[in-house]
C-alpha cells in the first residue's frame, strides 16, 4: 500500500480541489480550491523524488557520499512551484477584489454578464 499511497493522495487532492472549484459558491473560496489543486503537484513531485533511507540533499552536516540523498531536482522544481502558486493566488485574489467591487457579488451564479 505504501508503494502507491503518496501518488493516490496526490490524485485525491487534485480531484477534490477540482470538485471544490466547480461547485464553489464564492470566488474567494474558488481561489482557495485552486491552491488545493496545486498542493497535489507538490505532493506528487516530492513523492517521485523520495528515496527510501535517503536524507535531505544538504551536505552542511555530513560528508558527501556518506549516505544516500533524495533527489534534489524535484525539490528545486517544487520550490519553484510553491512560489508560482503563491503569486498566481495573489493575482487571482486581486482580480476577485475587483470583481467584488464591480459586480457587488462573489457568487458565480450571479455573474451572468458574459454569456452566449
Amino acid at each position: 500500500m505504501m508503494d502507491v499511497l503518496p501518488y493516490l493522495v496526490a490524485a485525491w487532492v487534485f480531484l477534490v480541489g477540482c470538485y471544490g472549484l466547480a461547485t464553489s459558491r464564492n470566488l474567494i473560496h474558488a481561489v482557495g480550491c485552486l491552491a488545493v489543486c496545486q498542493a497535489a503537484t507538490y505532493v506528487l513531485l516530492l513523492a517521485v523524488g523520495y528515496r527510501k533511507g535517503g536524507t535531505s540533499p544538504v551536505f552542511a552536516d555530513f560528508t558527501p557520499g556518506a549516505r544516500a540523498v533524495v533527489d534534489p531536482v524535484v525539490q528545486a522544481l517544487a520550490l519553484t512551484d510553491v512560489v508560482v502558486g503563491a503569486t498566481v493566488t495573489a493575482l487571482l485574489l486581486a482580480l476577485v477584489i475587483q470583481v467584488a467591487k464591480r459586480h457587488h457579488t462573489l457568487d458565480p451564479d450571479e455573474l451572468s454578464e458574459l454569456r452566449g
Binding site: 480531484l15 477540482c18 527510501k52 493575482l91
Partner: protein
C-alpha cells in the same frame, strides 16, 4: 447551464480523470524506489562546485534559468497586482483610525520584529549551505515589517514602508539577477554561467560562486515584492473606499502622500 447538468459533466469528468490517475499511480515506480539519473548528476555537479546545499545549486546554478522565470512570475504578479488594485477613479482614500493595541501584544511584536528580520537575512545569506535561501528569507524578512502593523497600527507601518522604494527594490532585484546572468555571458562563457567567481571552499559562506549573489538578488526581490503585494491588499482592505461610501463624485482623485 443548470446545476444538475454541471454536476453530471463534472462527475463524469472526475470519474474519467480519477481512473486515469489511479491507473498511472500503479505504474509509477514504487514509492521510494525510483531511479534518478538527473538527481544523481545534480548532486555530483553541486559538490564539484562547492555548494553544500544541492537544492540551492540546482535552483541558482544548474537550473538558474528556471529560477529566473520563477522570479519573473513573482515580479509580473506584483506588477499586475499593483495595476489591478490601483485606486480607481470612483474610489477614495480614507485614513484608518489609530488603533489601541494591548501592551503585551505590542511588546511581543516589537521584540519579535528585529529577531524575525535578522532570521530572514540569515536564511538568505546561508542559502547555499543550509536549507533556505533568497525566497524563504525574503518572505520572512518582509513578514517582519508587518509585525509593526500588529504592534502599533497601520500608520506606523506606512511610515517605515516607503512603497516607491520597495517597488524600485523589487525591480532592482530582478534586474540584478539578469545582470549577473549577462556577466557570465560577457566573461566569455554563457548566460547565467557560474564561472565568473571562484567556487570557494566547501561549506563556507563564500562558497558556490555566483550562487550567493543570485540568492541575494532573489532575497531582495522577494522581500520587496511581498511588501508591495501585502501593501496593495492592505490598502484595499483598510484604506480604499468605493463609491458607496463616497458622497461627492470628484473626491475620488485623492492623492496619496
Amino acid at each position: 447551464m443548470n446545476r444538475r447538468l454541471r454536476m453530471w459533466v463534472l462527475l463524469l469528468g472526475l470519474a474519467g480523470t480519477a481512473a486515469l490517475l489511479v491507473a498511472a499511480a500503479f505504474r509509477l515506480p514504487a514509492f521510494g524506489t525510483g531511479f534518478h539519473p538527473y538527481g544523481d548528476r545534480a548532486v555530483h555537479e553541486a559538490l564539484a562546485r562547492q555548494t553544500a546545499n544541492t537544492v540551492a545549486a540546482v535552483n541558482f546554478d544548474q537550473r538558474a534559468f528556471d529560477t529566473l522565470g520563477e522570479e519573473t512570475i513573482l515580479f509580473a504578479a506584483v506588477l499586475g497586482t499593483v495595476v489591478l488594485l490601483r485606486q480607481a477613479r470612483d474610489e477614495r482614500h480614507v485614513e484608518p483610525a489609530p488603533a489601541d493595541v494591548a501592551a503585551p501584544v505590542r511588546r511581543y511584536a516589537l521584540v519579535l520584529l528585529p529577531v524575525t528580520l535578522v532570521a530572514g537575512l540569515y536564511i538568505v545569506a546561508h542559502g547555499q549551505l543550509t536549507p533556505g535561501g533568497g525566497f524563504q528569507g525574503g518572505v520572512v524578512a518582509a513578514t517582519a515589517l508587518h509585525l509593526l502593523y500588529i504592534a502599533v497600527d497601520y500608520r506606523a507601518l506606512e511610515r517605515i514602508r516607503p512603497l516607491g522604494l520597495f517597488e524600485v527594490g523589487d525591480a532592482a532585484g530582478e534586474a540584478a539577477y539578469l545582470v549577473i546572468g549577462v556577466a557570465g555571458l560577457l566573461a566569455g562563457s554563457s548566460y547565467l554561467a557560474n564561472t565568473i567567481l571562484p567556487h570557494g571552499t566547501f561549506n563556507t559562506l563564500s562558497s558556490g560562486g555566483t550562487v550567493p549573489l543570485l540568492n541575494a538578488a532573489i532575497g531582495m526581490e522577494v522581500a520587496c515584492a511581498v511588501v508591495v503585494l501585502l501593501a496593495r491588499f492592505l490598502d484595499q482592505a483598510v484604506e480604499i473606499e468605493g463609491e458607496g461610501a463616497n458622497e461627492g463624485e470628484n473626491e475620488g482623485e485623492g492623492e496619496r502622500t
